[in-house]
């Protein structure tokens, strides 16, 4: 896959196009999220937040970003 090629990922159940090569860390930053308040699952596997700077997204990747909300 060429680096310039546009890729599509599924982010929290919704399709999203990425224009350039994006790491998971870049994605979190672009969403204005703080890494210490979320957990990330890539293709159903939980990822260690320490590794996300060098973890690049691929076409058709499914990523879930979750956090805490109010609950009983």
């Amino acid at each position: 896959m060429k680096k310039t090629k546009k890729i599509k990922i599924i982010l929290n159940g919704k399709s999203r196009s990425l224009q350039k090569v994006t790491s998971v860390y870049d994605l979190i930053r672009s969403l204005k999220l703080s890494t210490d308040k979320v957990a990330i699952e890539l293709n159903k596997e939980i990822i260690n937040k320490k590794t996300i700077k060098n973890l690049y997204l691929k076409n058709k990747d499914k990523i879930e970003i979750v956090h805490f909300i109010g609950g009983g």
């Binding site: 969403l31 260690n48 979750v66 956090h67 909300i69 109010g70």
Partner: protein, 256 residues
């Protein structure tokens, strides 16, 4: 006299755990927690809102360094979903103490005890400290204890029903048979329900709806705080035995 609430070697002063759902806002929730005196709050795990980036975050209102977050698997109907949720919760910030809830009945929100038991075993093996929402069945409570649960959390009545404790006998049997803390989870409606739970010998009470949906949530939060304290003190003080006939409070000696 120090009477601390111990769960998995952690010590707390307050025996009231509150949920953070159903409030009008995070600020209302944070204020209610303050009134309740709770040191532990349950929280849920959900997808972040990727559209509205300015949406307020729970962690900005309730500081996890000051209040113990208890990640909960509310809304999970399978063991798989519950495990996924708690593994994610642990990843957010290293939470090991968690509350497991695997539901089996959409109408009454009763727990699916087979799935719950299975999940407790797996989570315990993975190093979690699992507090478990369960039915008020003493046999199941025993099985959970054998599977490594750190707290038994029987329901008083269906979640959010406000019906109060329905089965005094089973709750007492569960309390008396286990070394683990027993925490009444679900079904509390008013302060007296919480006091009764404590007088039955329970170690704590978890309340969400009864506070969040009261007309005056802050007042109710405070009422629950006092009810739990009163019920606990009443339990450990050793109540008088019940008698059929009256006994005067004042001596007859020196009567005129």
């Amino acid at each position: 006299m120090k009477d601390l609430f111990k769960i998995a070697n952690k010590k707390f002063k307050s025996r009231l755990i509150v949920g953070t759902g159903k409030y009008k806002s995070f600020s209302e929730c944070a204020k209610a927690i303050k009134y309740s005196g709770a040191e532990i709050v349950t929280v849920a795990v959900r997808r972040v809102n990727i559209v509205d980036k300015k949406k307020p975050l729970l962690m900005d209102y309730i500081d996890p360094k000051k209040i113990t977050y208890l990640p909960n698997t509310a809304g999970c109907f399978t063991s798989e979903d519950a495990l996924r949720t708690l593994r994610l919760a642990r990843e957010i910030g290293g939470w090991k103490l968690v509350k497991l809830e695997v539901l089996g009945d959409k109408k009454n929100l009763f727990p699916d005890m087979i799935e719950t038991l299975r999940s407790t075993e797996i989570l315990t093996k993975e190093g979690f400290e699992v507090m478990v929402y369960c039915s008020d069945d003493p046999l199941m409570a025993k099985r959970l204890e054998d599977s490594g649960a750190v707290a038994i959390m029987p329901l008083a009545a269906p979640i959010g029903s406000g019906l109060g404790i329905q089965n005094y006998t089973n709750i007492k049997i569960i309390r008396n048979q286990t070394k683990l803390p027993v925490i009444i989870d679900a079904g509390i409606g008013q302060a007296s329900d919480a006091a009764i739970a404590m007088e039955l010998g329970c170690d704590g009470v978890l309340i969400n709806t009864a506070i969040a949906k009261a007309k005056k949530p802050f007042e109710m939060a405070e009422a629950m705080k006092f009810a739990v304290i009163a019920g606990r003190k009443s339990f450990i003080s050793g109540r008088i035995s019940k008698t059929l006939n009256g006994s005067p409070s004042t001596t007859n000696k020196g009567i005129i």
